[in-house]
């Protein structure tokens, strides 16, 4: 152990004695590792907010819609679709939805022309939807069982629609649905997985039946599967809920699309990582070069050390430990510089700081391996020097 400490002391002393040279060789690993860390971090952070939302929302939501396979303009699911869906194992919760056709929504009567051109979706729902979607209320409340059992003309609006209507939190406000006034009781927060909900109006099935439609069978529903089994549920659901065959319903996992969007740009990341790797390679050549020259310059020192009884192995280790120190130090500094550059980039772009710690480990590990490989030749060269040749006796 003391010999290892002696070796480390000699190697550190050798590096500290030649500060400029040491700083120059450190540049290789610093540039390489910082490029890798910053490149991977930036490409991850660019999509980090989506990934964070995905983690928050969960990926176990399944959406099923009545299919228009037989040419129906208003295809519906069976009335007892919730029970059918819940009968499937691994389904935890189900929220039915009915898209109401031909309901004109107005924040105030004068806006008719605009909203005839750009209609707002109106959906009949039950009490479970926010829970199934895992979305909180931005303000107010969701429709409760009293709204459903004794249908009231209560409406919840999506977040973007609230902004469009200049709706103030807690404001007593009514909107018109086909000329019928509904009181706004709450605003639903942003629904990432179903973005159309952000501009929609939600009313109870009962109110929809009272005011707009005769049949309130849902035309779609959202189901939460046991995490990890969403694809299984997705595949089994059409058969489970259909009356006339699996063509009656189409199911999908909405987070799949978001997950695809959240995938980092692998091409860009690969290009920059390869550039980082090249910088490391150039750095390795630099280390090998400078250390080889250093061995020649220090041949007298090597000769005297050999004369003093330091073995060839000790001499080789001395230079190899110098290379290891360069790799460790360069890797750590490079990781620090990379994280710093990433932090600045993320701050400027307003992204979410996303960096897999494994990237830092990988970068530092690469720098270490590269330095050791680069140090092998000079170390062997140093060990092969004969003291008699370097000391010039007589």
């Amino acid at each position: 152990m003391r010999n290892v400490r002696d070796l480390l002391g000699v190697a550190l002393g050798g590096l500290a004695a030649r500060k400029v040279r040491t700083a120059l060789i450190l540049l290789g690993p610093i540039v390489g590792v910082s490029m890798i860390v910053a490149a991977v971090g930036l490409t991850s952070s660019a999509k980090g907010d989506l990934q964070a939302k995905l983690r928050q929302l969960g990926t176990n939501l399944v959406e099923c819609q009545a299919s228009s396979a037989f040419g129906s303009q208003d295809p519906r699911l069976p009335e007892d679709v919730v029970d059918r869906a819940m009968a499937l194992p691994l389904v935890e919760q189900v929220a039915p939805v009915l898209d109401l056709q031909g309901v004109l929504t107005l924040p105030y009567p004068e806006a008719r022309t605009y909203y005839e051109a750009f209609p707002v979706p109106v959906l009949a729902v039950d009490t479970t939807l926010p829970e199934v979607l895992n979305v909180p209320m931005l303000s107010g409340r969701w429709l409760d069982r009293f709204d459903l059992e004794d249908p009231t003309r209560a409406a919840v609006i999506g977040r973007d629609l609230a902004a469009e209507y200049n709706y103030l939190q807690g404001e007593a406000r009514t909107i018109e649905l086909n000329g019928i006034e509904y009181g706004v009781v709450g605003v639903l927060d942003s629904v990432e997985l179903v973005s159309t909900f952000n501009t929609a109006v939600f009313i109870s099935f009962g109110a929809a039946e009272d005011d707009f439609v005769e049949d309130i069978e849902p035309n779609r529903f959202y189901a939460r599967a046991t995490p990890g089994y969403e694809q299984m549920v997705n595949n089994a659901m059409p058969d489970a809920i259909s009356l006339g065959g699996s063509d009656d319903a189409e199911c999908a996992v909405p987070s799949d699309l978001l997950a695809a969007q959240a995938q980092t740009d692998t091409t860009l990341r690969t290009i920059v990582t390869v550039m980082g790797g090249l910088a490391l390679l150039v750095g390795a050549i630099g280390i090998a070069n400078v250390m080889t020259i250093s061995v020649i310059q220090r041949s007298s020192e090597i000769g005297i050390r050999r004369a003093l009884g330091h073995t060839r192995g000790t001499i080789a280790w001395q230079f190899l430990v110098e290379a290891v120190v360069i790799g460790v130090l360069g890797g750590a500094l490079g990781a620090g510089v990379g994280v710093g550059a990433l932090w600045i980039g993320v701050e400027i772009k307003g992204w979410v700081f996303t960096l897999d710690p494994g990237v830092i480990v990988l970068g530092m590990g690469s720098a270490l391996v590269m330095s050791v490989v680069a140090g092998i030749y000079p170390s062997m060269k140093a060990a092969r020097l004969e003291p008699l040749e370097t000391l010039r006796l007589g």
Binding site: N3, L388, L391
Partner: protein, 259 residues
């Protein structure tokens, strides 16, 4: 054989410190050593040379250029291997040892002083002396104490933190001397130790050599300088790769150097 203890720090023991052979037994012996170079054109630098260095010997090896002095120095110092013959050090046949063991034996038994000092430029005087004690299992504090003692012995304790570039040639050579003796070797081997010094510094260095003599240790100086050679008790003259004279001027080994 008796264990060589540290004169000033009896509690300190340099691991691997050599043992002194009993009286009459050589510290170092060359037996019919020949050293040749080249394959097609063979040059015999040394021809069947035999030499015994005893404890307490203060030997000078002299001879004109090309006489084989440097080759002899390389072989005495285990820096080179003979073409034929054997080199024995402290009762061990160095010639037959694997290279790694020969290197360790060299580190334990021989201290070197060179004409060009060969100090490590980025280390202080103390650091240079401590270099001879590396990889021997000593704690830094122990190494520091031993190196300071060696520097005190050559009168440079007060300059322990100076680097070679901050010292005169004479001082550098004294640091090299301290480095040579710090591990308590059986033999100090000096190659033209005054060759790069002015007269005053050369005399100073030779005074230190005289003080370093002890019954347990041999000092061997290879030199052109007859004045330096005459300071030794025994003069080995070489010519054409052979020893032509081996004159001993004093029969008794000196008393141990006082601290």
């Amino acid at each position: 054989m008796t264990e060589a203890g540290h004169p000033h720090h009896p509690h300190l023991h340099v691991p691997g410190e050599p043992t002194v052979p009993p009286p009459g037994e050589p510290l170092l012996e060359l037996v019919d050593v020949t050293r040749s170079y080249g394959e097609e054109v063979v040059v015999h630098a040394l021809r069947e040379v035999s030499l015994r260095i005893l404890p307490g010997d203060f030997v000078s090896i002299v001879g004109p250029s090309g006489s084989g002095k440097s080759t002899m120095l390389g072989l005495l110092g285990c820096l080179d291997q003979p073409t034929s013959g054997e080199v024995w050090i402290g009762g061990e046949c160095a010639t037959r040892l694997p290279e790694i063991e020969r290197t360790k034996l060299r580190g334990r038994t021989i201290g070197f002083v060179f004409q060009q000092f060969h100090l490590i430029p980025h280390l202080s005087a103390l650091g240079n002396v401590e270099t001879a004690l590396l990889y021997r299992g000593l704690r830094p504090k122990e190494r520091h104490e031993l190196a300071m003692d060696a520097l005190e012995e050559v009168g440079l304790g007060h300059r322990h933190d100076h680097r070679p570039v901050q010292m005169s040639g004479g001082e550098q050579q004294r640091v090299a001397l301290a480095r040579a003796i710090v591990g308590h070797p059986l033999m100090v081997l000096a190659d033209e130790p005054t060759g790069a010094l002015d007269t005053k510094n050369a005399a100073n260095v030779m005074d230190i050599f005289a003080r370093l003599r002890s019954p347990e240790r041999a000092i061997v100086i290879v030199t052109h300088d007859l004045g330096v050679a005459d300071a030794a008790d025994r003069k080995v003259s070489m010519r054409d790769g052979r020893i032509v004279a081996d004159e001993r001027r004093r029969e008794t080994a000196p008393e141990p150097a006082s601290s």
